[in-house]
Symmetry: C2
Subunit: 341 residues, 2 copies
DNA sequence: CATGCTAGGTTTAGCGCTATACCTAAATCG
DNA sequence: CGATTTAGGTATAGCGCTAAACCTAGCATG
């Protein structure tokens, strides 16, 4: 059978509480000799505490949920961007002896279920829309620490962590404008009215204003964040928008699709059309020419998320309402002066 | 406070066991009227069972561990290939009301810790070496169902699930040989003596034998599975192996690196050198020309893993010792007839 | 010398659930 | 018509741990 606290206590000749205290580092009221004896026995017997019993008794699981949108049928679509976040989250949490539970969320009320069922101490929401975050009420959340990645929701129940999407897009647009482009396309998913996409859209717009460029030069298109949709859009651009000489996209994968679509239509990048991506994923450097893109510090974003979570859990007051990290432009080979026709 | 079984039982005027039985689908000995009444109250009160209490009492957690190698310092490196597996695993397990816990493993004995501490019902080992799987003893594993992805270990404690790496590599090599190549490089990580790499190596060799091609034509190189290492190798090939006209790599990412290295050295793909990857990741189609590669059915692999796990958990006898899925060659643009120099 | 304080513990009472054994009235059987 | 089965439950005893309150001997203090 399993080795329990009781076994250790019996062998050490003390009560289970003493063993429990030693194991949990509450050693103030235990003599050094007893501590040593207990630890030796624990080691020897290969005692591993039962997490279920712990979380039942202590009402805290040391599990952080990683909640990702999912449909019932499809498997989770985890973008490369998300993957990097997961890796860093896991490491940071493991350092603090927390564990990560991955859960696809098909309907929003599953969030409550996930939180309550597992007694989660906290959760990271990855890839949800702002409107979804907005809808999380106190009944759902309870006393669980929540961090929403890439959210601009004002919901005080979920702290937002994001990089500066406004500035990122602004930098990209300014870069294109400085190269002389005036007819620029903005391609991103169809949520211009909220969240990350909105910020990028506004940043993009702001650069036009700052440069005194006519906003009429912009072509705004709702394009799904996939390679295929990007390719489609590239072809469309080639066929029906001869005036456009540059494209800003909200994702590298989209930019790479656009590049392919343009190439198929016989247009050169950056010769005829310049392209800018977003995220600076590894794939940005795998394509030819290498993609000019906006970089965010993803590991930092994940680390901040963990810091906020643990801060909330340990009641170091409710920390900062939201954290915004920087973004910077990485100039590579897909942008050049404007000329097409 | 939390709504508990007791609350539901009191409100329904039955014992907690009856509620428990209804909730767990053991409804044989409960009248339909009582079932309906209980379910209505459960719904109404928003009752969610406590997973910790359950796993403590039932000695089963309904959690499957997803164990991935990790160093203490680095974050988990999750390859695109791994990501796809994770997504499918999550969906399949969620269907059966199991949950996924992600855990980086720095030292092998952490496997035991993870399994015991959380009372895991099973675990999927992702990305471990065969020798590591070999070392898992009964003391570590206990009665936990274990599936090792991409393992060729003979350890009966961990069922292996993999695709047919031997045949995949053989197909690739045969393709190159049929195109007339005789001086072919094999590039892969330095574990030629075991596991997946060994299978691919043997498959590669076997194609030479089958084609009656002299094995002396092969150049075997240990190259890390990264873009940077591939690029380095591509340059090396260009500079010091003028006789080589084709490269088979054990990963797409590696192949893409090789392509870049070759291009930098002024060699054309496939004009001067043909390149074949492995895995058929999305990125294989993002590069120019598109990468010829070996495809495995990753979703199927993950689904099989879940099937084996659940099979073991439900004691449908100990199922098949290991499962090998197919592999096929996807011919795209990076392979052509042999000519260089 | 009564009194408090401190070090070093112990005792008690659950946390919320499930396994197991048991119970009772009504229906069925030989 | 007594014995057995069946439907539809209940009672009891934990699972392994922790929070909170309590205890006691020994020492210092006014």
């Amino acid at each position: 059978m399993r080795v329990t606290l009781k076994d250790i206590a019996a062998e050490a000749g003390v009560s289970t509480m003493t063993v429990s205290n030693v194991i949990n580092g509450k050693r103030a009221r235990v003599s050094q000799a007893t501590i040593d004896r207990i630890l030796r026995i624990v080691e020897q017997r290969g005692y591993v505490p039962s997490a279920s019993a712990r979380s039942l008794a202590a009402r805290s699981s040391r599990i952080i949920g990683l909640l990702v949108p999912a449909t019932g049928e499809d498997s989770l679509t985890i973008s490369p961007h998300t993957v990097e976040i997961i890796g860093v989250l896991e490491r940071e949490l493991r350092k603090h002896d927390y564990h990560l539970m991955l859960r696809g969320i098909a309907r929003l009320n599953e969030v409550a279920e996930a939180l309550r069922s597992w007694n989660l101490d906290g959760a990271v929401l990855l890839g949800f829309q702002d409107v979804e975050i907005d809808r999380l009420g106190p009944a759902v959340v309870g006393r669980v620490a929540l961090v929403a990645m890439d959210s601009y929701s004002e919901n005080p129940l979920a702290l937002g962590v994001r990089s500066d999407d406004f500035t990122g897009a602004e930098l990209a647009a300014r870069h294109l404008l400085e190269l002389g482009h005036r007819r620029i396309a903005f391609a991103g998913p169809a949520f211009f009215d909220t969240g990350v996409v909105r910020q990028r859209y506004e940043g993009f717009r702001s650069a036009f204003a700052a440069a005194g460029a006519p906003w009429e030069g912009a072509t705004v298109a709702a394009v799904e964040t996939t390679h295929a949709a990007g390719r489609e859009f590239g072809r469309l651009l080639a066929a029906e928008h001869p005036e456009v000489t540059a494209v800003f996209t909200t994702a590298d994968i989209l930019a790479i699709g656009v590049m392919e679509g343009l190439a198929e239509a016989g247009l050169a990048v950056p010769g005829d059309v310049s392209v800018v991506g977003y995220d600076d994923l590894d794939i940005a450097t795998y394509v030819t020419p290498k993609l000019t893109t906006v970089a965010q510090d993803i590991p930092a974003k994940a680390a901040v998320a963990v810091r906020l979570l643990l801060g909330q859990i340990n009641r170091e007051e409710h920390p900062d309402a939201a954290i915004t990290l920087g973004a910077k432009l990485i100039e590579r080979g897909t942008t050049a002066g404007a000329r097409r026709g």
